[in-house]
């Protein structure tokens, strides 16, 4: 403990309270040395492999397959066979049975998944434990409920499955994004070929074990790991009927170009540069919590992160002061420690990108503030950062940083707030902080964002649709809306959709 203070007349008192390490044990996770692809319910040997690491220690965790076009082809064939041979014609209630099973097994094995997610992705255990894994299970529960009610969800439109869905997911919420994609696809009677992100394949591979435990028919879900080339092979495969992609806007645009004219259905969930708008009549301390949660949750690796903070000028000083104070109490470090608030940056590449943009912010003249905190020597880390004096024209106010970096801007009137918030190529999410209900509705009507949170931020629920405007993508995931991309309807047939 820290130095002792003997000024008191009773027992000596240490000056500061240092929380002892409280790491979650990794014993529960049994990793294989090497993973292949999960195709047709069996493990297939990869011809090439790469090593996946822990971003907080840079230690290797396992060797995983690098999917070639041939591997993708085999996976699509398995998915097609499963689709034709029963899955698509199975009664909805039967499909739901498998999905409920998956959901329950995810809950039973929640700790195992949470620990592995934090090991492979670097996110704090408290987030993988309290957010990622429970929400993933909730998505399966929720969409299992829809499986036998599609006729009621879309009356008189004769909803039918699309076929084989190719799904490409990002590294920020590996298991949760898998659930967002796989659950609605299965509920609607599709089969799936999923490619996890290159840096975070392990929970998807562990999920294959859950599929086997749930006795899901072989080929209904196939998983092929690899990098962008594997993803490209999946996008271009003629046997795929639908592509669902979550990731960067750059790659999303490329996918859309390649799919043009192929008749494949497409949904894209891309980047964001969300405005978090704080009015002077908000509950100050709670707004500060929301700002912190908005940008530092999951190290800012969140496409809907509240990375542009708009503060009404009359409360600029107290908000920034409180924010800086709050940053001092953020605990950055070992993702497996239960007291960690901010974990490791997911990869070296992402760390370089964050550093580059932060340098740009400094050069452009923004004022940087970083709390005093010690970072571990090994691994990829970035101190939670706030930029003040940011102009709308700076790169840090325009480009998605995808890291724990907040840009603070100001506004004077609600109109100005809306104008500035919408002045971005993105439109995924926004936040409004005010105690005034009418203003929340007024703002929500005018903000061009797929999600508008009021007096909260980064809150997800399977029943609520999520998706973007403009360059944040199209199509919705979650809720009733999330079923649509995985269905064909009588009325869409005429349009070749």
């Amino acid at each position: 403990m820290a130095d002792l203070d003997h000024t008191q007349d009773r027992a000596p008192v240490p000056k500061d309270w240092l929380y002892a390490p409280a790491p979650e044990s990794t014993d529960i996770v049994r990793l294989q040395e090497r993973y292949g692809f999960f195709i047709g319910g069996e493990w297939a040997e990869p011809s090439q492999t790469y090593v996946t690491i822990s971003p907080s220690t840079e230690e290797p965790l396992a060797e995983v397959g690098e999917g070639t076009p041939e591997d993708v082809d085999r996976a699509v064939a398995a998915a097609r066979a499963a689709f034709e041979n029963g899955w698509s014609s199975l009664p909805g209630a039967e499909r739901a049975k498998y999905m409920f099973r998956i959901a329950r097994i995810l809950q039973e094995r929640a700790r195992e998944f949470a620990v592995l997610e934090s090991m492979n992705g670097g996110k704090p255990i408290k987030e993988s434990r309290d957010v990622d894994v429970p929400l993933a299970a909730a998505h399966f529960f929720y969409y299992a409920g829809w499986a036998d009610k599609l006729e009621y969800a879309f009356p008189n439109r004769r909803p039918r499955p699309v076929g084989v869905a190719g799904q490409i997911i990002p590294w920020n919420f590996p298991l949760l994004m898998l659930a967002w994609k796989v659950a609605p696809a299965l509920a609607c009677g599709n089969t799936v070929v999923l490619k996890p992100a290159e840096t975070t394949p392990l929970t998807a591979l562990l999920f294959c074990d859950v599929l086997r435990q749930a006795e899901l028919p072989p080929g209904v879900v196939n998983i092929v790991t690899g990098d962008g080339r594997t993803g490209a092979a999946l996008v271009e495969h003629p046997g795929v009927d639908k592509i669902a992609f979550t990731g960067s806007t750059e790659v999303g645009k490329e996918i859309q170009r390649r799919l043009a004219g192929t008749g494949k259905k497409l949904t894209l969930e891309l980047g964001g540069k969300a405005a978090n708008i704080v009015f002077d009549d908000c509950a100050l301390d709670q707004a500060v919590e929301g700002i912190v949660n908005g940008i530092y949750f999951n190290q800012g690796h969140v496409c809907c992160a509240g990375s542009r903070l708009f503060v009404q000028e009359s409360i600029y000083e107290p908000i920034v002061d409180k924010l800086k104070q709050r940053l001092e109490t953020l605990r950055v470090g070992d993702p497996l420690d239960k007291n960690t608030d901010v974990g490791a940056i997911n990869s070296k590449m992402q760390l370089d990108r964050i550093r580059e943009l932060v340098e740009a912010g400094k050069e452009e003249g923004a004022q940087i503030y970083q709390p005093s905190c010690e970072l571990p020597e090994k691994g990829y880390w970035f101190v939670p950062t706030v930029f003040t004096n940011v102009a709308q024209s700076y790169r840090i106010a325009q480009e998605e940083i995808f890291g724990p970096v907040l840009s603070v801007l100001t506004f004077r009137t609600p109109d100005e707030a809306v104008e500035k918030a919408n002045n971005t190529p993105y439109g995924l999410s926004a936040g409004v902080w005010t105690e005034k209900g009418s203003r929340i509705l007024w703002m929500a009507q005018r903000l061009r964002a797929g999600v508008v949170w009021a007096n909260t931020f980064n809150r997800f629920d399977p029943t609520s649709p999520f998706g973007g405007y403009k360059e944040s993508g199209f199509g919705r995931e979650g809720g009733l809306h999330g079923l649509e991309p995985y269905l064909r309807f009588d009325d869409s047939e005429a349009w070749g959709g």
Binding site: P14, W17, Y19, A20, A22, A283, L284, Q286, N455, T456
Partner: protein
């Protein structure tokens, strides 16, 4: 101000430098923050440190109609040496009793540094004429009380007569002089966090040295969100005026684990400066034994039967 009928929105309390704006509280977000702090995992030496701190900050309390000199003398002995089997366990901060029992406690605690606090101002309801309340305070001090725990008039507060509440705090503080004044808000009766914040600022403006959650007679008492709400108000006052106001959580804290959660709130809201008996107190009676039991477990590795810890 004492004549003002109510506290209109945006009303600024008559202090120089002025108090922060009253502001509002978002209940959902407040409760969420309190719950997330409650998930901190405190282990090993950090836990021992916290448990010993909790003892040093305890106001060991008995507030029953059946209290007798014998009971208070026994309690006072326990306050000095909570665990006779382990002299390294520190003494508590104070003993808190009704005014009539103050002399007994003073006698037993003479020379130990442990303070004697008395509840006053028509505790626990506060539904008495102001002159009686002030007289109550004066007589408690004459009997030897070194700290006064007053209650605010919730009836006046809830009917919007904030000025009366403020006025009574001012008069009580006058009667106290140098005697330490803790103002009990009885948050369980205030109904909303907005009210808790208002009452906290009102008490501080009136001259409170400490703000305290509850009497211990009403449930809910010192819940984590209520504590957080009051700590944030204390923080705002400190930021804006430099005044350091103490905080006392009282009522409903029965387990060592809860005590640690309360300490975490203080640590992460006001910082380590507030983790001292001068600025933080835990009002409790049954809590102490659970802390002793946990401490013994941390030191010996095994839990012991409650029979090994004295009742008072």
């Amino acid at each position: 101000v004492a004549q003002a009928p109510a506290l209109p929105t945006g009303f600024e309390l008559p202090l120089e430098p002025r108090l922060p704006r009253i502001g509002s509280i978002d209940a959902v977000a407040l409760e969420e923050r309190a719950a997330s702090l409650a998930k901190r995992s405190i282990k090993k030496d950090a836990k021992v440190w916290a448990l010993e701190l909790a003892i040093r900050c305890t106001d060991l309390t008995t507030l029953e109609g059946a209290d007798t000199p014998g009971k208070v003398a026994a309690l006072s002995s326990k306050a000095i040496r909570p665990d006779p089997g382990d002299p390294s366990v520190p003494s508590v901060a104070a003993v808190c009793v009704y005014p009539n029992l103050v002399p007994t406690a003073r006698e037993r605690l003479e020379g130990t540094g442990i303070k004697v606090a008395a509840v006053a101002t028509g505790f626990p309801s506060g539904q008495y004429p102001t002159p009686l309340k002030v007289a109550d305070v004066r007589s408690a001090i004459e009997l030897g009380a070194q700290e006064i725990d007053m209650v605010i008039d919730r009836g006046a507060f809830l009917s919007g007569r904030y000025a009366k509440v403020y006025d009574e705090v001012v008069k009580t503080k006058e009667a106290c002089g140098d005697v330490h004044l803790k103002v009990i808000l009885e948050t369980g009766e205030l109904g909303t966090y907005d009210n808790v914040r208002r009452a906290t600022l009102l008490a501080i403006a009136g001259g409170a040295d400490f703000v305290k959650t509850s009497t211990g007679k009403i449930n809910p008492a010192a819940t984590l969100p209520v504590a957080l709400c009051m700590l944030e108000a204390v923080r705002d006052v400190h930021e804006e005026t430099g005044r350091r106001i103490g905080f006392k959580a009282a009522g409903g804290v029965r387990q060592a684990k809860q005590a640690i959660q309360h300490l975490i709130l203080v640590h992460e809201t006001l910082g380590p400066d507030w983790l001292t008996p001068d600025l933080y107190r835990l009002g409790a009676s049954s809590l102490l034994n659970d802390i002793l039991m946990q401490l013994r477990k941390e030191k010996t590795g095994v839990y012991q039967s409650p029979d090994y810890f004295t009742l008072d």
